[in-house]
């Protein structure tokens, strides 16, 4: 179980029982239902899930940049021990960029087409730091070279459309790093990019993480990207955390039926021709969440209790937690409980 012992060491970011809902015409959509996790300095945390699993909404909740219909309806988000859901807008403005930054999936739409790269980058710098004029420009050039863009002086004068997708994502990263945040949230940062460009960007994020020592939350649906990048992984489904643990625990010792199904439904690298085992059924409709485990409708081993009660999170070992009744059943049968 997640402990909230205050005597434990303070985490850089601690999300506790987060509930985020969207209030739409068709009713309240519970996008995130009780998500808790901690993030420490220099950690790369991966959040993986399918569309509608609540992974992006979790990230947006941390940044407090939800769409106007969205609201954090419960739980706490502690940044260095201070609950930011209670902050006002001006305090949040100082927090965003300086403490936490975000890069998005689509670098094409995240940049403003009518301003030059330099304009937008310098704007970010002057907003968040006390650098002005030539000093800000020098910082912009420094940032562009940091993210591996050649001829940064010339690039500053160019518009976003003059850059390729990979270049634009580099510019976005430069902008996000403008005031050296403690946490970088990357929301599907390479989904819109080609494989070889994806490799460049992932390598860039990794090397910047090492160089600047920031923590990274990587949100993606791509298990390959997660496997390559992350120390710790959270698997989400239907707005809840199914399973969390170190990369090797999640990939080699999955303990939630959804994670197991997900790993069976991608080609096996050791035997490419092995037939895939899909997860049956269709993705969850978050307008109509089940009472129990969100995965119960698609789970092969669904039991009576799964329909009625959301599963408790139990420790598999010190690096691994899972929320599946199967584990609790196994523990009972093994006489451990």
């Amino acid at each position: 179980m997640e402990s909230t012992n205050t005597f434990e060491k303070q985490h850089l970011l601690s999300v506790q029982d987060l509930h985020t809902s969207f209030f739409t015409d068709s009713g309240e959509v519970h996008a995130v239902n009780g998500v808790s996790f901690n993030l420490d300095e220099g950690e790369i945390l991966g959040i993986v899930g399918e569309s509608g699993s609540g992974k992006s909404v979790t990230a947006y909740s941390i940044m407090q940049i939800l769409a106007s219909t969205g609201k954090v309806v419960g739980g706490k988000i502690l940044y260095k021990g201070d609950d930011l859901t209670k902050w006002n807008e001006s305090k949040l403005d100082k927090f965003r960029g300086k403490c936490v930054s975000i890069i998005f999936q689509d670098p094409m739409t995240s940049l403003n087409p009518v301003f030059t790269i330099g304009n937008q980058l310098i704007e970010a710098i002057t907003l968040h730091t006390d650098k002005r004029g030539a000093e800000a420009k020098a910082r912009a050039i420094e940032l562009l070279s940091l993210v591996g863009i050649n001829e940064p002086e010339r690039r500053l004068k160019q518009y976003p459309h003059e850059h390729s997708g990979g270049m634009r994502q580099r510019v976005m990263i430069a902008m996000a790093l403008a005031c050296e945040p403690d946490i970088l949230i990357a929301d599907e940062p390479t989904t819109a990019l080609d494989v070889t460009i994806q490799a460049q960007i992932l390598e860039l994020i990794q090397s910047l993480q090492k160089k600047l020592g920031m923590a990274v939350i990587l949100v993606t649906h791509d298990l390959g990207v997660i496997a390559e990048m992350c120390d710790n992984i959270i698997v989400m489904y239907g707005g809840r955390i199914c399973e969390r643990g170190t990369a090797s625990e999640i990939f080699y010792n999955p303990k939630h039926e959804y994670t197991k199904g997900l790993l069976r439904s991608i080609p096996n690298v050791k035997d490419m021709k092995q037939r895939l085992v899909p997860i049956s059924g269709t993705p969850i409709n978050i307008l109509n969440l089940p009472k129990g485990c969100p995965f119960c409708a698609r789970c092969e081993n669904c039991m009576k209790i799964c329909l009625q009660e959301p599963p408790l999170e139990i420790d598999i070992n010190e690096n691994h937690k899972a929320s599946c009744w199967m584990n609790i059943k196994a523990a009972f049968e093994g006489g451990c409980v």
Binding site: D194, E228, F251, G261, L262, R264, V269, P283, R298
Partner: protein, 319 residues
């Protein structure tokens, strides 16, 4: 050797692009591409965006009028005149299951349209029966027949698209990124269905995708494209595990593998720079601007595709 089902010979597809008031340049989307596909075979076509892989698929079905070259179906050239009839043998499944289905048509009408066009039934009862058989093939319930496309999830829509392609009982289907828009757990359902249909109906696929793991899984052979040209082609395992062309090598090493131990210790070749604009293609080999081995000859002439043993074709001067 027996006649291949599909034989693409020196296919070229250039698109005119206005680059000035009176100036028109040609964008060479597909430049001299040749390959063949046998009956019941799957050829995977991979490459990065803009490499022309989708254009190849569309040119085979004459959704574009090819600039040069020809496509033979079972030894018969596909021409503008006979394409109507030819499309009884060749069909296509599109990437986006949201925009490729008419929102105002019921599932029954969507799947029935190819039957109407090619007049493949005697009476209403036969049409209905055929549609229900097709729906059963792709795992849709009979009660779905009267519903509209928007009532379905992405995976189910893709099933409708596949049923529509199968309606005329084709021998060959171009699958243009058929699973890219789907969630991982649904992808596997659709991939398995493609495999089952191939066993059941003996249909051949040109499977276009950018997900190399999926392509390797489903294809017997793979062709790799770069800027309108095929740079390497051969058996799926050869192209993946013992690739020869420097582009294929870096492409394969860039694929994130969902296996942490494996992926963290392998040697990765990260390509520098971006793909050049297809409007201003480098002379000679298109890959030379990003290639580690590029030499003088590469700048002068495009290397031909040569057989390196067992049908493993590579276009490279150095390797």
């Amino acid at each position: 050797m027996s006649t291949p089902l599909i034989d693409v010979r020196n296919l070229k597809q250039y698109f005119p692009v206005k680059t000035g008031l009176f100036k028109t340049e040609f964008l060479k989307a597909v430049d001299d591409v040749s390959f063949s596909i046998n009956e019941g075979e799957t050829l995977g076509l991979v490459g990065e965006s803009g490499c022309g892989k989708t254009t190849v698929g569309r040119s085979i079905l004459r959704l574009y009028e090819p600039t040069a070259g020809e496509v033979l179906y079972d030894g018969v050239p596909v021409t503008a005149k006979n394409i109507g009839r030819m499309r009884q043998n060749m069909q296509m499944v599109f990437q986006d299951p949201y925009s490729s289905l008419d929102p105002r048509m019921t599932v029954e009408d969507i799947i029935g349209e190819p039957l109407d066009v090619h007049k493949l039934y005697e009476n209403r009862a036969e049409r209905r029966e055929k549609i229900l058989t097709l729906m059963d093939y792709v795992g849709l319930n009979a009660e779905h027949a009267t519903r509209y496309a928007h009532e379905f999830s992405g995976g189910q829509r893709q099933r409708i698209g596949i049923a529509r392609a199968l309606a005329v009982n084709p021998k060959f289907i171009v699958c243009d990124e058929p699973v890219s828009a789907l969630d991982v757990s649904i992808q596997a359902q659709v991939i398995n269905m493609f495999e089952d249909l191939q066993v059941k109906l003996g249909v051949a696929y040109l499977f276009i995708a950018h997900d190399l793991l999926v392509v390797h899984h489903i294809s017997q052979r793979i062709a790799v494209m770069y800027l309108g040209k095929i740079v390497e082609m051969g058996k799926a395992d050869d192209v993946n595990y013992t690739s020869i062309h420097p582009y294929t090598q870096s492409l394969m090493s860039a694929v994130p593998i969902p296996d942490p131990d494996y992926t963290r210790q392998r040697h990765r070749i990260v390509l520098q720079g971006d793909v050049p604009s297809p409007l201003h293609m480098p002379t000679g080999c298109p890959f030379r601007t990003r290639c580690r081995y590029a030499c003088e000859q590469c700048a002068q002439e495009m290397p031909p595709l040569t057989d390196r043993g067992g049908g493993h074709m590579v276009a490279c001067w150095v390797k």
